[in-house]
């Protein structure tokens, strides 16, 4: 590269190269993560792209508290965010259990905050970044980390009960099934494990053809999950034997939503699929204008879909027909959350919208001065 510098036009070339290198930084810094959101007890807990957890009153969108309160570190040299390694974004939706809210951060740490004021009660450092949402069941919080471990922690004080070595990054939340006494762990190393709930011992493992980035779901005796190989897999939850697969046209990032004998899943091929749980037969498909990255949400016969095309769709779960759709004007890569009062949608640029589930009209948005 140095031969450029010897030339008469070297300065111009250096500036050009620097400009091109920095072009990946863009004029405005791209999002360092996509938002993760959960709603509990009338409060929306959303980890936005600023690397902070915002607690908002679900009925008004007014801010209750923000964690952490201080400003985060710069996103990188000259504001360049890619491929610079960031330090504190949060991909994982927070999880609420009792009076604590649990947040897994990209700075390797899971935080337990009180729901009243967002004050930290304890934290637990893992060996690498946390992408998956923690899962709270009774007095245990299950945390998956990119350090290849799934941890079972005491929900009250964060002390470790057991850990399971999964052999690769775990970006999917563990699925805890108390009835069968099992935890299902999906990994980016193409594996899905069934692990004993009491001590973290593996009972079986299944190998997919691609990475599994989202939590599996249970459909009776079947464990269903999507993979980067574009397939939806159904395996026997007791034995790990494959029952059927369904091929979509793109990576499957979201957890399948199971309603009675039908499962719904989105794909990177821009489609939403409805499949028969029993054998994976396709019932219908609906095409959006962009990637359907995350999990769909079901309520009252409607399937709510957030798409990269900036639209929120409400589909008839029986037929796949559009009941309504509305443009949020920003990419949606995260799952919507549905309550009786509203459908909450968070966008890639860090905004939260509360929509009327009946017609998609806006109730409020956060931050209030924007969008």
């Amino acid at each position: 590269m140095i031969e450029f510098l010897r030339h008469k036009w070297s300065l111009l070339l250096v500036i050009l190269v620097a400009g091109l290198f920095m072009s990946s930084c863009g004029g405005t810094a791209p999002a360092a993560s996509w938002p993760g959101m959960t709603v509990a007890e009338g409060v929306v807990y959303v980890a936005l792209t600023d690397g902070k957890v915002h607690a908002l009153y679900a009925d008004s969108g007014k801010e209750k508290w923000v964690f952490p309160t201080e400003e985060g570190k710069s996103s990188g040299f000259l504001g360049c965010s890619a491929p610079r390694v960031t330090e504190g974004p949060i991909y994982a939706p927070p999880a609420v259990g009792g009076d604590l809210v649990y947040v897994g951060s990209y700075n390797n740490t899971v935080y337990a905050l009180n729901t009243v004021a967002g004050v930290q009660q304890w934290n637990f450092p893992t060996g690498d970044r946390i992408v998956a949402a923690p899962v709270v069941v009774d007095d245990t919080v299950y945390v998956a980390s990119s350090d290849q471990y799934v941890y079972a922690l005491d929900a009250e004080d964060g002390s470790e009960r057991w850990r399971f070595q999964a052999g690769n990054w775990v970006w999917a939340s563990p699925l805890v099934d108390q009835e069968s006494g099992a935890v299902y762990v999906a990994t980016m190393g193409h594996k899905v494990y069934r692990v004993r709930l009491t001590d973290g011992t593996a009972e079986w493992e299944f190998t997919a053809q691609g990475a599994v980035a989202a939590a599996p779901a249970l459909a009776g005796d079947l464990l269903v999950f999507g993979s980067f190989d574009g397939r939806v897999y159904a395996v026997d939850a007791r034995t790990g034997e494959e029952q059927w697969t369904f091929q979509t046209g793109g990576w499957v990032w979201g957890t399948p939503v199971v309603v009675d004998d039908v499962l719904y899943v989105g794909s990177q091929d821009q489609h939403v699929y409805a499949l028969k749980v029993a054998d994976g037969t396709e019932l219908w498909r609906f095409q959006t204008g962009g990637v359907v990255r995350d999990t769909l949400v079901y309520g009252e016969g409607l399937l709510y879909v957030g798409s990269e095309d900036t639209q929120v769709y409400a589909l008839d779960a029986q037929s796949g027909d559009v009941q309504w759709s509305t443009s949020i004007e920003e990419q949606i890569l995260s799952r919507p959350v549905l309550t009786e009062e509203a459908l909450y949608v968070a966008t890639l640029n860090g905004k939260v919208y509360a929509l009327d589930p009946a017609d998609g009209s806006r109730i409020w948005h956060y931050p209030p001065s924007e969008g």
Partner: protein, 265 residues
């Protein structure tokens, strides 16, 4: 425009790097090194004339400086005489520029494709997915194993070994290109000195921030440039010893003096 750029440049390079990764036993550091060499060899017809032209211009520095000195007050005549000299020596002063500009997109695309393939965050992986989702064989490789020796190729080198190598190889390469005769113009000499130090340091600083996979690319591309320059020098009648003497004049002269002293005793 972005789509066209991705289709023509980024996608083929992503495919090539992933295929190499698969072929080389899932070792992405090796894949980067091999692909860097391949890209440099493929762009050789573009870089070689520039490198040769630059070298020839440096060899002509004493003559150029003499003309500049002689016609310091007559710019028009100075340009005229310089052009005459270039013509006599068969040099096109702008000839080196166009090939360099043409190869810039290739270098940029290579850099961007490495950055994309090294995706280890959900968002960067999401960005990569649009390039490889249609190819089952390549999709099965994702996410790549980014471990190599002490390095996580997707993150900066924690021991700063690669940034140091980038600084050294950049400095060495630049030093090879520097004329052995000192510039008579003090301003030019000062600029040369500053460039020789600041540019390698700047590249070193940047590689401290970037994923170490990209630092490997910089080190390998510098080494390839050094080898090419060495071949050009040797074709011009210089030996490896001459080249090293030009790069490390102090060390070689010290060694020569010490040898001389020993002989005297």
């Amino acid at each position: 425009m972005g789509q066209l750029w991705n289709t023509i440049f980024i996608q083929p390079m992503i495919y090539a790097s992933l295929w190499l990764y698969q072929f080389l036993g899932h070792n992405f550091a090796l894949a980067i090194a091999v692909l860097t060499v391949v890209v440099r060899l493929l762009t050789l017809p573009l870089t070689l004339p520039a490198q040769k032209s630059a070298k020839k211009q440096q060899e002509l520095q004493p003559k150029i400086q003499a003309i500049q000195k002689k016609y310091a007050k007559d710019r028009e005549r100075q340009t005229e005489e310089l052009m005459k000299l270039y013509k006599e020596e068969g040099i096109n002063p702008m000839g080196g520029c166009l090939p360099l500009l043409i190869q810039l997109p290739i270098i940029m695309a290579f850099y961007q494709s490495i950055a994309k393939v090294l995706a280890d965050t959900p968002l960067t992986l999401f960005s990569l997915s649009s390039f490889v989702a249609g190819n089952a064989a390549l999709t099965s490789l994702v996410p790549l194993s980014s471990k190599f020796l002490w390095l996580n190729l997707a993150r900066p080198d924690p021991w700063y070994v690669l940034p140091i190598l980038v600084v050294f190889t950049s400095w060495f390469q630049q030093k090879m290109m520097t004329p052995s005769t000192p510039a008579t113009d003090p301003q030019a000499a000062s600029m040369n000195q500053t460039m020789q130090i600041t540019m390698p340091l700047m590249f070193g600083f940047l590689t401290m921030q970037w994923p170490s996979g990209l630092a490997i690319y910089f080190v390998v591309t510098n080494i390839v440039s050094i080898i090419i320059q060495l071949v050009i020098d040797m074709q011009g009648g210089r030996s490896i010893r001459d080249v090293f003497q030009a790069v490390f004049p102090q060390m070689t002269s010290d060694a020569g003096t010490a040898k001389g002293r020993r002989k005297k005793r």
